[in-house]
């Protein structure tokens, strides 16, 4: 029984952690750096026909094992290699296809919430290129009150294939207001919130998106009139 468990764990770990890949240099040579960045010097060169083992990636660099030492290889140089099964790497800098087929987006936005500084964390699920849903938690600290909001929204992107793509959507949630000073008669409490948003999404590179938006929200209060607030925000998201 214990052996089966060990076997199962071994299988699981194999599937979780990608195995190293043995490769051979097919180009004239590849430069091997001491670190994962252009600022780190080239300390070794592997010439045509020499064997390397690819270990892992970090940003645009690949860690390799060459003559029992670890070095870093630029991602573009994967073109100069082939695996022992004569497979070549498909290296493309244009990750736009990955952007279009993304399914999760995590974002951090800063902005202005009715005159006070706002920052917001968001998590979105991209249902299809045109529709995405988002859960956003924001905090705004003003001179008179602190606001904590949580909203669930749905956005439509009519032109998802554009690099700068507009979107619009509606959402709803709760807003928790806490008065900051005793001078202002703002009652503490939870209010419902309904909003409409318009914005732009810009695919920068890799898995990185810039986003700017304007949101108009209606706060449902217990008084006779509902309050309307404007939010401007600017930030980044990372997609997976």
């Amino acid at each position: 029984m214990r052996y089966y468990l060990v076997l199962a764990l071994a299988l699981l770990s194999c599937s979780l952690f990608a195995a190293p890949v043995a490769v051979k240099v097919t180009g004239d040579f590849v430069n091997l750096h001491s670190g994962a960045g252009r600022g780190y010097p080239i300390v070794q060169v592997a010439i045509k026909g020499e064997a390397l083992v690819l270990l892992k990636r970090r940003t645009d660099w690949v860690q390799v094992e060459f003559k029992q030492q670890h070095y870093w290889l630029a991602r573009q140089d994967l073109n100069q290699l082939e695996t022992t099964d004569k497979q070549q790497f498909a290296v493309s800098d244009e990750r736009f296809a990955a952007f279009e087929s993304r399914s999760w987006e995590m974002g951090l936005l800063f902005g202005d919430f009715n005159g006070s500084s706002l920052y917001q964390l968001s998590l979105s699920y991209v249902v299809n290129p045109y529709i995405q849903t988002e859960l956003a938690v924001g905090q705004a600290n003003g001179d008179q009150a602190d606001n904590l909001s949580a909203e669930l929204s749905m956005y439509l992107s009519p032109m998802p294939h554009w690099r700068i793509s507009p979107y619009f959507g509606i959402g709803g949630g709760v807003l928790r207001t806490t008065a900051r000073t005793v001078l202002v008669q703002t009652p503490d409490g939870n209010n419902s919130l309904a909003s409409a948003e318009f914005g732009l999404r810009y695919y920068i590179s890799r898995n990185f998106i810039a986003r700017a938006g304007y949101r108009r929200s209606v706060i449902v209060t217990e008084r006779n009139d509902n309050e309307e607030i404007d939010t401007w925000k600017l930030g980044f998201s990372v997609f997976f």
Binding site: G39, L55, Q88, Q139, N207
Partner: protein, 204 residues
């Protein structure tokens, strides 16, 4: 009979045709493999400890946890949670009056995010033949400070020197300025709270 012969010829012709087609078709399709089969390590988890000077409240011990994501070799995003406990102001010590803040109000908390830029990547030579990879990054961001019974928006600016002990372990020396407004002494003022911390971080 005639139809039968025709059928034989037809079968022969087809067989010959397919055989010939197989001969001339060049095998140009090459096997392509994605770089995604390699494990990627773009996340960095770090802890740090140091000193934070809270304006008017003296210097205190600071502890923080950080989670970063490397977008590329130049830029990274970092989320930070830091905590400290403020001391007493000179006024409280000298006047002998009642303390300005309660014990729980002296708890200082920061949570926020920032964007960092690796400005100076390179090697640091510790001895003549022993060099370690290092990098100096500048960062700017914002978050929230919870202090003196108040929650305020805070800006964070600073720099971080990173020394790579191994490929996955980095030692970090961070200088940072937390800028926020306080209204403890009746009038609102902008305060600069400088910190200096040493930490370590692991890539995963």
């Amino acid at each position: 009979m005639e139809a039968w012969i025709q059928r034989v010829f037809l079968i022969l012709a087809l067989a010959a045709g397919t055989a010939w087609a197989q001969q001339v078709e060049p095998d140009i399709s090459r096997d392509v493999i994605s770089e995604d089969i390699l494990d990627s390590e773009n996340w960095l988890f770090g802890v740090k400890a140091g000193v934070l000077s809270i304006e008017d409240f003296g210097s205190s011990a600071l502890a923080a946890v950080q989670l970063s994501y490397h977008i590329n070799e130049d830029f990274y995003l970092m989320a930070e949670y830091a905590m400290a406990k403020a001391g007493r102001t000179s006024f409280e010590d000298l006047s002998g009056a009642a303390p300005l803040l309660t014990d729980s109000q002296r708890e200082w908390r920061y949570y926020g995010g920032h964007v960092g830029y690796m400005l100076l990547p390179g090697e640091a030579f510790l001895t003549q033949d022993f060099a370690m990879n290092s990098g100096l990054a500048l960062f700017a961001g914002a978050g929230n400070v919870d202090f003196a019974g108040d929650k305020v928006f805070a800006l964070q600016l600073g720099s971080q020197f990173r020394l790579y002990a191994t490929d996955w372990l980095a030692l970090e020396l961070t200088f940072s300025d937390y800028i926020f407004d306080t209204t403890i002494l009746a009038r609102t003022k902008s305060t600069h709270n400088l910190s200096f911390a040493l930490g370590m971080a692991v890539y995963f």
